[in-house]
Amino acid sequence: MAQKKPDLSIEFCGKKYINPFLLSSSPVSNSAEMVERAFDAGWGGVVFKTLGSDRLRIDHPSPRMNSMTVGTRKMSTVQNVEQITDRPLKDNLMELLYLKKHYPDRRIIHSIMGFADKEWEYLAKMSEDHGADTLELNFSCPNMTIEGSGDQAGKSFYDIEHYTSIVKRAVSIPVMAKMTPNITDMTETAMAAKNGGADAISAINTVSGITGINLDTLVPQPEVFGRGASSGTSGPGVKPIGLRFISDMAKDANLNLPLSGMGGIETWIDALEYLLVGASTLQVTTGIMHYGYIIVQDMIEGLTDYMASKGIMKLDNLIGSTLPKLGKTDLFDLDRQGVVEYDLDKCVGCGQCLNVCTDAGGQALKWDDVTRRPELNEDKCLSCMLCSFVCPVSGLIKYKAMPEGWKRNETAIRDPSLEKELKYEPYVHDGDDGCLV
């Protein structure tokens, strides 16, 4: 008998999703024609490109994006200067009706952005009246050219709470607030949204950044007719920031809201990591910009096979599983130490380990010029692991925990004879000098 397949469906804000994978509100969710293709590829839902009221005209800068290549890795981060939709609200609502009608099993989330109280209220109602399953309030676009909007609102506790409460009073569907990472502590901005009545938080919007400068014109890219700006940066390079903010919010017992995670997701592994730190739906743009909607199939297949291999049949059982093991650095057991170990049968003799150990590690390696193999002095190994990062052979260099009580040598002093020139006196802590510990 065939084994039962793991179930990727999930409930989020009281709505059932066939899988946790959503298009985020962005250029990849700009029209019904696009979203239709995404749904056909297997995406569980969409956060449609942010709706506006048509009161203020939206023009996108041109060119709209820049990509940062790292080595041969194209689009390791992408910087865009797009704003919210430039399409008329009427057109967008027709598009959303089309999707609602033809894809009843997919969840349609309307992203909205107002520039005044009444506008937020109006857009929320329009969305509810046109079948939105949920609302996402865009408090986080860093590219808006309209004063006080986008992430300018998202950096104001007052604005977040105020606009959220206006929307909540206007509609009965769930409301999710999308947060900017261009702040210090997202639990505080998220709490402002919760105080305004938000039912969920989505994060992160793009990180404000500069991916490159044109070295001839000296203008930051994307170069918009002679001008550049720090603007929305996304892609694999921002994943650590996204995971950090999602986990911060997931661990905050006072916040205690469902989370929709995004930032650099392009493989099932990225997706799984977001689930493990507490996200229960996942949103993607840059991965689609690079590879197309098809990537959802690899995320579904990879995640399903992972769950099957671990005997996890429900997605719910994964969410937040990493959080008990995630804490502050002061909880580390610093009495336990380790070193690297080398499986030299696999070594190809490049010596990159030697370079990094010598210039950035513990000078723990010697090199045999003839055999072209490193020789490790464990006593000097810092377990920085740099050698394992540059080694071209996976699995050749591994971490090895040393027995309790093992200590490495202290770094050698270059010239011990200088001791006679020392004017050193040890620091004495008298218990009353404002020291923390």
């Binding site: 696999k346 070594c347 990159q352 052979v393």
Partner: protein, 455 residues
């Protein structure tokens, strides 16, 4: 097909890498400590260094590394048997104790090298400059092949005035007259030479230094030192009168004619003919590839040992096979067949391999009773170059060996006559371009020391 169509097939070498491809390769590089590729380059071109520079987008620096170490770095990138040199040592092949053969391809070092040099021309970057050293002195260089160009460039960088005397109408030596243009085209060769003349080197063409003691006389004519690099322009032949047979060419004459005024005659002579090329080295491969482009009917390669023993690079052998050359391996030609003085074919005997000879390769042994006649309208003998017969008369006091190769110290290029240095094929016998470049570098350093000591 007209003559100009045939000529078009010879004009250009295939395009090289572009920046994207070069970067993909540089990203694959393992950036080895004490880079084995660098150690394997006979001329110290430092691939480990220029690939690291490319990887870190220090592209002008990468070009500078190549060209300051090897003024003919572009030509070497094109012509070097890299699979036998730098690329053979490449760690990116991922050879380990567990997997001694490796499982991946070497970094395409030669292609990267060619790309960087071509890129320097695209961005009009001149990487090598003359040093302000305060030295003075005149150096005569005999021969504008790789060794001569390299030596002239190196002494010029030090501040000396170098003059190259070239016997032929255009400079370049084997780069121009010994290699087919579809392997290293004229435009490319001329740009490499331009990098040498940009350093102030003067090249006098149609200026043979031959005749009684002509080379030694240069010292009396005000030159402070002489570097002899005339190359090997004589040809070994199956029999002494080969050159007189109608339809018999030496590889030296055949390849040179592709770049000179005889080319039109060659084109009409070869059309519709059956050609047999004797030999198994890179020169033989150039000859068969060239013959195949001349609207010939059949091109047969005759080699007395086995396929794997051919000195030609594997890639050259494969390309020749792919281009429809018929390989007659394990065949020894014993006699030219003639009608009057007109060549009609070759008498061939099949061979088998016996014990290894002094080259370490198994010796071909004739199999009795296996003679047969191969019809051929044209035979090209590509069985090796040698010194021009009277070359030792040009430098009667310089010690030469039995093959009329100049005896020179390997660390300095110094000959038995003070002030006369030598390098390249005239010292080594048939050798690689990159080795000739190294000889030029070594001699330039020794000439500088010689002249410094003299003061």
């Amino acid at each position: 097909m007209g003559i100009s169509d045939v000529k078009d097939r010879f004009k250009q070498m295939p395009p090289g890498m572009n920046m994207d491809q070069a970067i993909v390769e540089a990203e694959r590089c393992l950036l080895c400590h004490d880079a084995p590729c660098s150690k394997a380059c006979p001329a110290g071109t430092e691939p480990g260094e220029f690939i690291r520079k490319l990887r870190l987008r220090n592209i002008t620096g990468a070009i500078r590394t190549i060209k300051s170490n090897n003024i003919l770095g572009g030509a070497c990138g094109v012509l070097c048997p890299t699979a036998e040199l730098c690329e053979r040592e490449c760690s990116a092949m991922m050879a380990s104790d567990e997997n001694p053969g490796g499982s991946d391809k070497a970094i395409r070092i030669g292609d990267i090298q060619r790309f960087l040099v071509e890129h320097s021309r695209e961005i009009d970057f001149q990487p090598v400059e003359v040093e302000e050293s305060g030295v003075s002195g005149k150096i005569a260089v005999v021969g504008s092949g790789p060794a001569g160009l390299s030596c002239a460039a190196e002494v010029s960088k030090l501040g000396y005035k170098a003059t190259i005397f070239e016997a032929l109408a255009e400079p370049g030596g084997v780069l121009r007259y010994g290699v087919v243009p579809f392997r290293c085209d004229t435009d490319f060769v001329e740009k490499e030479i331009a990098d040498v003349t940009a350093l102030g080197v003067e090249i006098k063409c149609n200026s043979p230094i031959e005749g009684k003691a002509a080379a030694e006389d240069l010292l009396k004519q005000g030159y402070d030192a002489v570097f002899m690099a005339p190359g090997l322009w004589g040809a070994y032949a199956l029999q002494d009168d080969s050159a007189n047979i109608d339809g018999c060419y030496s590889s030296v004459d055949f390849l040179a004619s592709i770049r000179n005024e005889n080319f039109d005659n060659i084109i009409s002579d070869f059309k519709g003919k059956t050609v047999a090329v004797i030999g198994g080295g890179s020169v033989a491969m150039d000859c068969v590839e060239a013959a195949a482009r001349l609207d010939t009917t059949d091109v047969n390669l005759i080699y007395r040992r086995s396929y794997t023993q051919m000195p030609a690079e594997e890639i050259e052998r494969i390309e020749a096979l792919q281009h429809g050359i018929n390989f007659y391996i394990l065949h020894q030609p014993t006699e030219f067949l003639k009608d009057g003085n007109k060549l009609t074919g070759l008498k061939l005997v099949r061979t088998k391999l016996g014990e290894p000879d002094e080259s370490g390769r198994r010796r071909p042994l004739l199999i009795e009773g296996t003679e047969w006649d191969m019809p051929a309208d044209i035979v090209i003998e590509a069985i090796g170059n040698k010194a021009v017969d009277d070359s030792s008369d040009w430098y009667p006091n310089v010690k030469v060996d039995g093959k009329k190769l100049i005896v020179a110290e390997s660390e300095t290029g110094a000959t038995s006559v003070p002030g006369i240095f030598a390098g390249g094929d005239i010292v080594r016998g048939p050798a690689l371009v990159v080795e000739a470049v190294q000889d030029g570098k070594v001699a330039a350093k020794a000439i500088h020391e010689y002249l410094s000591d003299k003061e």
